[in-house]
């Protein structure tokens, strides 16, 4: 997928984004792009502005400067649900599921933006609403099968272990059948085995559904293994951008991660 450089191969592009909260500059003149079908990683030390970047793409924050191009069109001041409708789904660093609802119901909420029947039809639960529900359930069951979470289908999410909740959250994002999937630290707080499983799922999603993925991750091993290209942020600035190997050997990146000697 790396060889695709034509501009119509670019799914999302951010140009000269600057974001500040009062006097604090979170992002400063950041530009990069995400190509169709790639796994794109955003890395950086704590406070580098990674999550802010995702929030900007997601429409949760509105940058003071810069442009966001998605699917060949420029985007103006959109709210998160409008962005979701465009085809961008995400997961959160600190899990944002409906804890009292079952895995199945949580996944079904991922389909809400796809539902066409209006609230009245859904209330009556007949005709189009019922047919639609069956369709959505079918899709959700495929995701349950894909993520191998059949055994927790009817379990309230709050009762599940952390690693499983992360998986359910990925499932909900998948249910939206987005063009671009944003994953905010999908492997944070997981043990080795859970991380390996999650990597497998991320790669499978990318290969099997052809979903473009942008992810933030701290675990460098994971990032270098599964991403096609990496962008590195530090204190709101872009340090480097390129293939995992290029980034790994970039002096500025090494300095930011390992520190610089002062003698």
């Amino acid at each position: 997928m790396n060889d695709a450089v034509k501009s119509d191969n670019i799914l999302l592009e951010v140009r000269n984004i600057s974001l500040s909260f009062g006097g604090v500059t979170a992002l400063e003149d950041i530009s990069f792009d995400i190509r169709r079908g790639e796994v794109r990683a955003i890395i950086g030390p704590n406070g580098a502005g990674k999550s802010s970047m995702l929030n900007v793409i997601n429409g949760f924050y509105h940058p003071q400067q810069g442009e966001i191009w998605f699917d060949g069109k420029i985007r103006h001041h959109m709210r998160p649900h409008e962005v979701a409708k465009l085809g961008i789904a995400r997961t959160f660093q600190n899990i944002a599921l409906f804890k009292g609802m079952t895995t199945l119901d949580n996944l079904m909420t991922g389909r809400i933006i796809k539902m066409r029947a209006n609230i009245l039809w859904q209330e009556v639960w007949k005709g189009p609403a019922e047919r639609e529900e069956v369709e959505h359930r079918q899709r959700v069951e495929e995701i349950i099968d894909f993520l191998k979470i059949q055994s927790i289908r009817k379990t309230p999410v709050g009762k599940l272990p952390y690693g499983m909740q992360k998986r359910v959250e990925l499932g909900r994002a998948l249910a939206a059948e987005s063009k671009l999937l944003l994953l905010d630290e999908p492997m944070a707080g997981m043990n080795l085995e859970e991380k390996e499983d999650m990597c497998r799922f991320v790669l499978d999603v990318n290969e099997q559904f052809g979903t473009t993925i942008a992810l933030i991750e701290h675990d460098m091993g994971v990032v270098m293994d599964i991403s096609d290209r990496v962008v590195v942020l530090d204190y709101g600035k872009k340090l480097a951008d390129g293939s995992p190997d290029e980034v790994r050997n970039n002096k500025a990146v090494i300095d930011a991660y390992l520190g610089v000697s002062h003698d």
Binding site: E141, I144, D145, Q150, S151, E196, D204, E207
Partner: protein, 644 residues
Amino acid sequence: MTDTFPRRLIENAEKFSERPAIREKDLGIWQTWTWRQMRDEIFDFANGLSTLGFSRGDKLAIVGTNRPRLYWGICAAQCLGGIPVPVYADSVAEEMRYVLEHAEASIVLAEDQEQVDKVLEVMSGVDRLKCVIYDDSRGLKDYDHSFLHDFSEVQESGRRLAQEKPDFLSREIELGTGSDTAIILYTSGTTGHPKGVVLTHDNVLITSLNSARMDNLTEKEEMLSYLPLAWVGDHIFSYGQAYVTGMCSNCPESEATVHSDIREIGPTYYFAPPRVFEQLLTSVMIRMEDAGRLKQRMFHAFMAVASRCGTDILDGNPVSLSDRILYTIGNWLIYAPLKNTMGFSRIRVAYTAGEAIGPEIFDFFRSLGVNIKQLYGQTEAAVFITAQPDGEVYADTVGKPSPDVEVKITDDGEVVYRSPGVFQCYYKNEKATHETKNEEGWVMTGDAGYFDDKGHLKIIDRAKDVGKLKSGALFAPKYIENKLKFFPQIKEVVALGRDMDHAAAIVNIDLDAVGNWAERNNIPYSSYQELAGHPRIYEMIKSNIEQVNRDLSEDSVLSGCQIRRFLILHKELDADDGELTRTRKVRRRIIAEKYGVLINALYSDAQNCHVSTEVTFEDGRKGTIEGDLRIEDAQVFESLRKAG
């Protein structure tokens, strides 16, 4: 009567045409195939197999969990006069290589990517292997497809062949006879390499028919197919008896969903090894501890009623009117809802076998009205040697000889039998065949046992494991181990003592039960190892052992084998490390080699012992666990009755 499985399939497709033959839960919904549909699926696949060059006498290895297509593979191979060879789904690549090579498999039918990967890993060493057929295509898109085939594509080419040569398959089926080899089942083997047990169509069909008649099984039964495909029990229950009676086998969605799937199906006929019943009882008890006080009191009050009269009601014995009324109320309030939770509402007949079952566990389920019975069987006998008839069920026996089976006890105390189910031979192992089966067809079971005065067989232990202590007193390790394993907090035990001064034990605690107890008692722990070394756990296990010692002291024959010293092992015994067989039986020789240091320490005065053990993780990597283990003494009791 029809004498091969393919003919049985044709007959069932006529007789039970629209009745369900097999179900599978897929994408959250139970998908059903009727006998007619199943016949068509199997025939398509059989034709497809022949286009891949599979013919009479060839072996089809089948690897995976209980999926309809894998069961169809068994019958499809038999249609062509080929021999299916199921392989345990959890066997590691090396184990799989041995079976594929030894059985001379020419085609493998694998469930999914995981199994395909294992086959590919060992493929280079297996000469005759031509290709692999897979059921689930997930993740296999980028594999080299020159020798990989999708199951439905094979069926598709089968359909094309059927159009060109419509009577090809029926002619092939006509060629089969009852004395043809139907299947080769590899036994897990407590020692050495697994052995391939060769069974004919007659062996499996006649045994299935006899046992189905004994329990009046009909086409209306529902059963859950969740035990390993390669195990003879599953082959008889899910395949043999299903083809004989026309009943429906149900394949759960995955291993992890068995508990919820069994509720949805509500089987009428059920088989589970004792540990499944044990786990169920443990989980019921753990969950009851979390219930409200009213519920807890109701539960305990009515369970007392059930244990007083439940088994008598089940067996049709006379019971007082007041007890009957109480039991009926108990049934409304407790027993029926509880059975429903466990998925046992509709059970007519349930069997358990493989290991001894704890009397409390056995009585618990029977008092609820679940008709669990015990049977005694072997792969070499196509399962059935003895079984308990309705109304004659006891926790400590394995029942009377099954129909057409002769059982006798040799002078050495070993159980031997002869039956229509007796295997032909061990595949390519004449020596072992002669050691096990004599010219008159009597088979040595290797188990020591005797008939009690009710005419029921009682098994003590493996004949070769029954030994003597240095003092000359009888030592039956398994008997002691089973007694200890009946405590919920003990998962596995290895009893030692042959040719020694006294008996000793290595204990594995049950992480579920003990972990729950630890949480309740505010004992923090981070791992199995830490919990296993906790002084209070040692105290608990010590009191269990002393209770068993007290019981043993009352036994005139076995009072000598009370346990004097024990330790709790720092890791769980695991089949991946070779310590247990795939069916979770202890491998004594391997444990003696691996834990020699511990065993020496048990027979010294040491209070501590340092040990480091290599372990194999699920993905095949290796690591070591080490630690200092405490060794405790346990009290022994004076023999109450003098031997003699």
